[in-house]
C-alpha cells in the first residue's frame, strides 16, 4: 500500500471515462458513465498508473492526496455489493 488516495471532483468531472480505462483496478463507471473511485489506499504497484490517470483527465477532476475519504469508505463498505 502507498499512502495515497484518489479523489474525483464531481463538479469538474464530465464523465470522459478515460480514468476507468487506465486504472480499472481503482475506478469503475456507474450506469451513466461517471467514475466510482475506490476509497482504499492506492496499492504501491499502481502508484505510477494512478499518477498517469490523474494527468490524463481532460477535466482535471482527479486528485491524489494523503487524506482518505472516511465517508466514502463507510458508504463503499455498505453499498459495494449492490454496485
Amino acid at each position: 500500500m502507498s499512502d495515497q488516495f484518489l479523489h474525483v471532483d464531481p463538479i469538474l468531472c464530465v464523465g470522459h471515462g478515460l480514468c476507468a480505462e487506465m486504472l480499472p483496478e481503482m475506478i469503475a463507471l456507474d450506469d451513466w458513465g461517471f467514475p466510482i473511485i475506490s476509497p482504499d489506499p492506492i496499492p504501491r504497484h499502481l502508484s505510477k498508473q494512478s499518477g498517469r490517470a490523474r494527468a490524463a483527465c481532460p477535466a482535471l477532476a482527479l486528485r491524489l492526496d494523503r487524506t482518505p475519504d472516511r465517508r466514502a469508505q463507510a458508504l463503499h463498505a455498505k453499498n459495494a455489493p449492490h454496485r
Binding site: 471532483d9 464531481p10 463538479i11 469538474l12 468531472c13 464530465v14 464523465g15 456507474d30 450506469d31 451513466w32 458513465g33 461517471f34 466510482i36 465517508r71 466514502a72 458508504l75 453499498n79 459495494a80 449492490h82 454496485r83
Partner: protein, 438 residues
Amino acid sequence: MTAVAAMPVREFDQPQGGPGPLRLLAGPRRGAPERWEEHCDRLGGPVAELMAHLGPKRMIEVVRRAGLTGRGGGGFPVADKLVAVMSHGPKRVVVANGSETEPAASKDNLLLTIRPHMVLDGLEVVAATVGAEAVALVVPGEPAGRTIARALSERKARGNGYPEVTVVLSSRDFVAGEETAVIRWLDGGPARPRSQPPRPVEKGWKGRPTLVQNVETLAHLGLIARFGADWFRTAGTAAEAGTILVTLSGAFERPGVYEVPLGQPLDIVFSVAAPNPAADSLLMGGYFGSWVRMADLGGVPLSRAGLAPFGATPGAGVMHLLPHGTCGLREAHRIAEWLSGQSAQQCGPCVRGLPSLAGALSVLADPTADQTGVRTMLRRWCAQIEGRGACRHPDGLVNLIRSTIDSFSSELELHAAGRCSGGSISRIPLPSRQSSPR
C-alpha cells in the same frame, strides 16, 4: 409557506431564570415581531454585555456542556464547529442560515418573523465568540427580511454595536440552502454548492474560515448564553438536549410550527396538532426523510436515538402526514420528480442519476405499468449514487427512495396487481415557481 397555526398561548413560569417549556416560542404568539423592549423585558438586557464577561473559551465550554446541536438538519455539535472554525486562522466570519428552502418547512421563517431578536442574540454570541470580522444573515424572503432589518436598527439605536450584519435574500432554489451554496451566493456567485474540501470552516465566505449555523440553532444559543448550560439541559434527553421546532403539515387539524422538547413521545408531539386518526404514513425529516407509520410511534421519543430503529431522523423537524387514501408511491414519486428538478446540474451522478431514479419510481407509482425488475434497478442506482455528489442533495433522494420501497411494500404489491389504494388529493407542498439563479 405553511400557514402558521395559532398555538394556544400558554402561561409559563420561569425556573432558574430561563423560560419554561416553551423557549423560542414563549410569550405571545401573535403575528407581530417582538420589539427590542419586549425582548429585553422578557429575557434581560443586551447579550453582548454577558459575552464581555464570559470570553470565547468559556463560551465554547458552556455550549459544549449544553450539548447544543445544529437544527438545520444535520445535527452537528455546535461546540465542535466553533472549535473547528477557530483553528483555521484569525480572520473569521459568521453566516446565519435562514434560507429554509424546504417547501414543507416554516419554522425558520416563523422565528425570523416573530422573534427576530432571539436569532440576533445568538448571532451576536457566535460573532463575539469567534471574533467575527463579518456577519451575514440569509433570510427566506419577506417579511422576514424587513423584520430583521428593523430589529437590527432597534439594536443599533441602543449602541450595542457589533459587526454590521449583511442581510441577504435566499435565491429560494432547494439546494440554495446548502452551506457552500449559501457561501457562493454571498460571494456574488450562483447559489449552487461547491466541491469540498476545503470545508467552510477552513475557507468559506470571502475566502475566510466560516461558521455557518441555522437560525434556530442560533436562537437556542442566545438563550444558552443568558441562562446557561444547566438550564438548557432541563429540556430534552441526556444525549439530545433542549427543544426543537417542528413543522407539521398534511392530515393534521391544526398544522403549523410547534416547539417540543427532544425526547418527547411522538404521539404526544402530534396530539397537539390533532392528526386525522385514519392517516398512517408520515414523512419524517422532510423530503430527504423517511416514512414512518403512526401506529408504530406511540411512546417513541422524538430524537435521533428514538428514530434510529426506524431508519429516520428528526432532520430539521419537518413532518408531513399523508391523508388516508393517498397513495404513498405516487406521493413519493411527485417529491422525487421535484427533487430531481432541483439538482444544481453540476455533478454527473446527480444530473443523470436523479432523473433515472424519479423515472423508475414513476413506474412503481403507476399500477398499469410493468414493474418487473424496477425495484432491483432502483436499489442498484441508489447504491451507485449515494455519496457521489458535491453536496448531499442526491443522498437525500436516495434516502427517500429506499424508505419508499421498504415502507410501501403492500402498496407495491397492489400496484403490481394493477390496483391502487389511492385517490385522495395530495397536499404535499411542491412549489412550481422556479426562481432564477443569479
